[in-house]
């Protein structure tokens, strides 16, 4: 048996073995999917509470408010507000997007798309989910501690996050939760990297992998390198909080020796900038593939797209200082970080060129996954371009820590990644659950989501340029910001629309899981390996390990006969 052939391990019979402690990558993918959707809901409700407070300060939140905040007549109190935006950021980044894009699609797609029976280390894979679960429990448990959960922003900068700034145990639990989810990410990353390198089906070179796998691969590499840095930073803060060290303590509270809170920012952002790419690379991969599949032609310059992913991953290491321009680093560092940040537009422009090149002269089908992919191109365009203002030191002097930043990173991390995730869910639904989601409701969901998402984040860009800074409970405490009330109301109404339209998705998804139309093996008529097997994928994936003979984007070849317009990767490339 060749090394790339794993045993088709027997199907577990018990409920526990099948659904809870499963080694099957597809089951683990679903565990991540359900958990991610759960946290997406929690983080989403928090976002609505935040938005409500900003547009209608001092007014009770409809329906939920009186249940959640009985002591204040349904009004969000200021300390709770700080807790809400902290938890919203943490949950969306680490507990919603990470499990959805990396946990769910990473696990689902890698073995199915590279043609193997399971991940290289199924046990690590299971542990990766359970560490995630423990971490989620730690994070949520903080909500029930006497002083509440962490409230220092998702970045949790010391010295605010040290004991004199945040005395509650909730803040310690936050660092422990992040440390634990770091373990989960590292276990997943090691597994993904090994699987992609060693278990590709015979005949599959790196450039024969779908671009989705390229994206996930780069994500895994960045995760493996930089999550440990964040973990180390969290441990050091835990030392400061629990054992009285002073790595990050300074100022009047530093009675015995002084550390440096800015050191934490370096540690945090050297992870934090790559984290942006960790989250978005899988979405880029999915979009690059789907644009080709639904345009019925090969991906334009797929090699260049893959290499741009690599170069953007390398560059992401060298630019983190743009988050710290206002901490007054040395002029040399400031100028170098600015210049390096700017070079990121070259690979980004190549992405856009290639995406548009892919749909150019295609025969475009507007199925729901395609609409979402086109949506990603639109919102990521806005997200990327608005980043330029913040990478430029002098404009950042004005815009840093304003709502402009909030709008910008939501366009890149929330809008683009979320739309990419939806594209993936609609697209792989048949392979995951063996059913199709409703196209009609999918399209309605798409348009309402697009309207809502752009209303919210475009509005935030304007509010930020208007001078409103971040993380303030009542912006209209500042008389000068009162002119922004109408725009804040507009953003909140858009957010309510965005939140409300997710119920369409929820019902569509749940309905399809249990009652959806049965899917055929290859509903989208695509040639990558996962579509050569039945829907839903059987527990052993491939009866015989496939042998790969051509690339993943063989569509629209004029030499194909019998009305076919695509060929499977297992078929020899038709040349005449």
């Amino acid at each position: 048996m060749a090394f790339f052939e794993q045993h088709a391990h027997p199907v577990p019979k018990t409920f526990l073995g099948k659904y809870i402690f499963s080694f099957d990558h597809k089951v683990i993918a679903k565990q991540f999917l359900w958990s991610g959707l759960f946290f997406l809901g929690v983080g989403g409700i928090m976002a609505l509470l935040i938005r409500w407070t900003l547009a209608y300060p001092g007014q009770s939140f409809p329906i939920l408010g009186s249940i959640l905040f009985p002591h204040t007549n349904g009004i969000v109190p200021p300390d709770t507000y700080a807790m809400l935006f902290t938890q919203h950021g943490t949950i969306m980044i680490f507990y919603a997007i990470t499990p959805l894009l990396i946990g769910a699609f990473g696990n689902l797609c890698i073995p199915l798309m590279i043609g193997c029976r399971d991940m290289a280390f199924p046990l690590l894979n299971m542990l990766s989910y359970w560490f995630f679960f423990i971490s989620g429990a730690l994070l949520l448990s903080a909500l029930f501690t006497p002083l509440g959960a962490a409230a220092g922003g998702w970045t949790s900068y010391p010295t605010l996050a040290l004991t004199f700034g945040s005395p509650g145990v909730g803040q310690t639990l936050w660092y422990m939760a992040i440390f634990t989810i770091g373990i989960s990410s590292i276990l997943g990353a090691v597994n993904y990297i090994t699987t992609i390198i060693t278990l590709r089906a015979p005949g599959m070179g790196y450039f024969d992998m779908p671009l989705t796998i390229w994206g996930i691969w780069m994500t895994a590499i960045l995760n493996a390198i930089f999550v440990p840095v964040l973990g180390a930073g969290c441990l050091l803060v835990i030392f400061d909080r629990v054992f009285g060290t002073s790595f990050f303590l300074a100022g009047a509270a530093a009675t015995s020796g002084s550390g440096d809170p800015i050191l934490y920012q370096h540690v945090f952002w050297i992870f934090g900038h790559p984290e942006v790419y960790i989250l978005i690379l899988p979405a880029w991969g999915i979009v690059s593939d789907l644009l080709s599949f639904f345009s019925r032609k090969p991906a334009f310059a797929a090699k260049a797209t893959a290499l741009s992913m690599v170069s953007i991953s390398v560059l992401s290491i060298l630019v983190y200082g743009h988050h710290m321009f206002t901490t007054q680093m040395s002029p040399l560092l400031t100028q170098s970080f600015m210049t390096l940040t700017m070079t990121i537009s070259i690979p980004s422009a190549i992405f856009f060129g290639n995406w548009l090149g892919t749909i150019w002269k295609g025969s475009i089908r507007f199925d729901t996954p395609m609409l979402y992919s086109l949506g990603v191109v639109f919102v990521f365009g806005l997200g990327g371009l608005t980043g330029l203002y913040l990478g430029t030191t002098t404009t950042d002097f004005y815009l840093h820590d304003t709502y402009f930043v909030v709008g910008h990173f939501h366009y890149t991390m929330a809008a683009s990644v979320l739309l990419g995730g939806f594209a993936g869910i609609y697209y792989w639904m048949p392979k995951m659950f063996g059913t199709m989601m409703s196209e009609f409701w999918g399209k309605i969901h798409f348009w309402l989501t697009m309207l809502g998402i752009n209303g919210v984040f475009m509005g935030m860009l304007f509010i930020g340029y208007g001078g409103m800074h971040r993380r303030i409970y009542n912006p209209f405490y500042y008389e000068e910001l009162r002119r922004l009330i109408p725009m804040n109301e507009f953003v909140t109404i858009s957010a309510l629309l965005l939140g409300g339209s997710q119920f369409i998705f929820l019902f569509n998804f749940l309905w399809s899981v249990w009652n959806g139309k049965k899917a055929v093996a290859n509903p989208w008529k695509v040639g990558t390996l996962e579509w050569t097997i039945p829907s839903p994928a059987p527990s052993y994936n491939f009866k015989d390990i496939p042998v790969v003979k051509c690339g993943p984007h063989e569509l629209g070849n004029p030499n194909l006969k019998d009305g076919k317009d695509f060929q499977y990767q297992t078929e020899e490339l038709v040349t005449s």
């Binding site: 220092g152 300074a250 310059a301 206002t326 507007f366 303030i472 725009m487």
Partner: protein
């Protein structure tokens, strides 16, 4: 499917509306329209610029905006245009290409280079110049800048003027809380630090901010040119009452400032208790 294109068109046209209103508003910013209006698009105007060098930042912002709009409209033209022209009902036979012909590679390369030179290289060069020639070009001693020490703490701003002896942290210093008064048309030099957590000294009307960090002294200089009352905000999350950590900035003509300072110095001499250790939160002015 035609319904979808209707919505595509709607989005394209609303993009146009957004773009035009943005340009109009940028034009409006120049002649300082009144902000109190409730019109949505008025908020595309930033707060009134009261500084000598704020226009550098506004100019760079506007340049970036125009370039961004140009490239984003190109992307949208491709996105919506191709989606319209190459709909599978209109274009049954897709072009079978890997996009690896020289003409394809050249096109994408030219796009990449155009974006890099048109936006990135230009704005980083201009920003670098502004940094070197203006924002990091610290006022010299002979320019007689007004020196102020700024201490941030949860959740107030404290300001310290050197007083008659021109030495900081002595008993004749003028100390104010949440109340910064400065002259116009004279360079201002601030040294900023924090007593507890990280704050950020933000003057929206001067387009500037600098973090106030415990254990470090950061510097910022500016020159203002409009007399009046303006807001100062804390821009970095610093705890529950972060949102209330605002201060008032009053800008005087040089004569008005001198008379205020003279008065404040007299009051300080009378009120300051030299025995009170709380008075000496300042530091020796750092010369760098």
């Amino acid at each position: 499917m035609s319904g979808i294109f209707g919505i595509f068109k709607f989005i394209v046209s609303s993009m146009g509306v957004i773009a035009t209103s943005l340009m109009l508003s940028v034009a409006n910013a120049k002649d300082g329209t009144d902000y109190k209006s409730t019109n949505y698009w008025d908020i595309t105007v930033p707060p009134e610029d009261i500084s000598v060098n704020g226009h550098l930042i506004d100019w760079l912002f506007n340049y970036t905006t125009y370039m961004n709009l140009f490239f984003f409209i190109l992307v949208c033209a491709g996105l919506f245009g191709f989606a319209f022209i190459y709909h599978h009902k209109k274009n049954k036979k897709p072009l079978y290409t890997y996009g690896n012909k020289p003409v394809h590679i050249w096109t994408v390369t030219i796009i990449g280079v155009a974006v890099f030179i048109g936006i990135d290289a230009t704005i980083s060069a201009i920003s670098n110049n502004d940094l070197r020639n203006v924002f990091l070009n610290w006022p010299k001693e002979e320019e007689k800048p007004l020196k102020v020490q700024v201490m941030a703490q949860q959740w107030v701003w404290k300001f310290r003027y050197a007083g008659k002896d021109e030495v900081f942290n002595t008993q004749d210093d003028v100390v104010t809380v949440n109340d910064l008064r400065v002259p116009i048309n004279r360079k201002l030099l601030f040294q900023v630090t924090s007593k507890d957590v990280i704050h950020s000294f933000f003057l929206p009307n001067a387009r500037r901010k600098v973090d106030a960090m415990p254990g470090r002294i950061s510097r910022i200089w500016m020159e203002l040119n409009k007399a009046g009352k303006w807001p100062i905000a804390c821009a970095e999350m610093c705890g529950t009452h972060h949102y209330m950590m605002g201060a008032k900035l009053t800008t005087y003509t040089p004569e008005d400032f001198e008379s205020w300072l003279g008065q404040a110095q007299r009051v300080a001499m009378e009120v300051n208790d030299p025995e009170d250790l709380n008075l000496y939160w300042g530091w020796k002015w750092e010369v760098r």
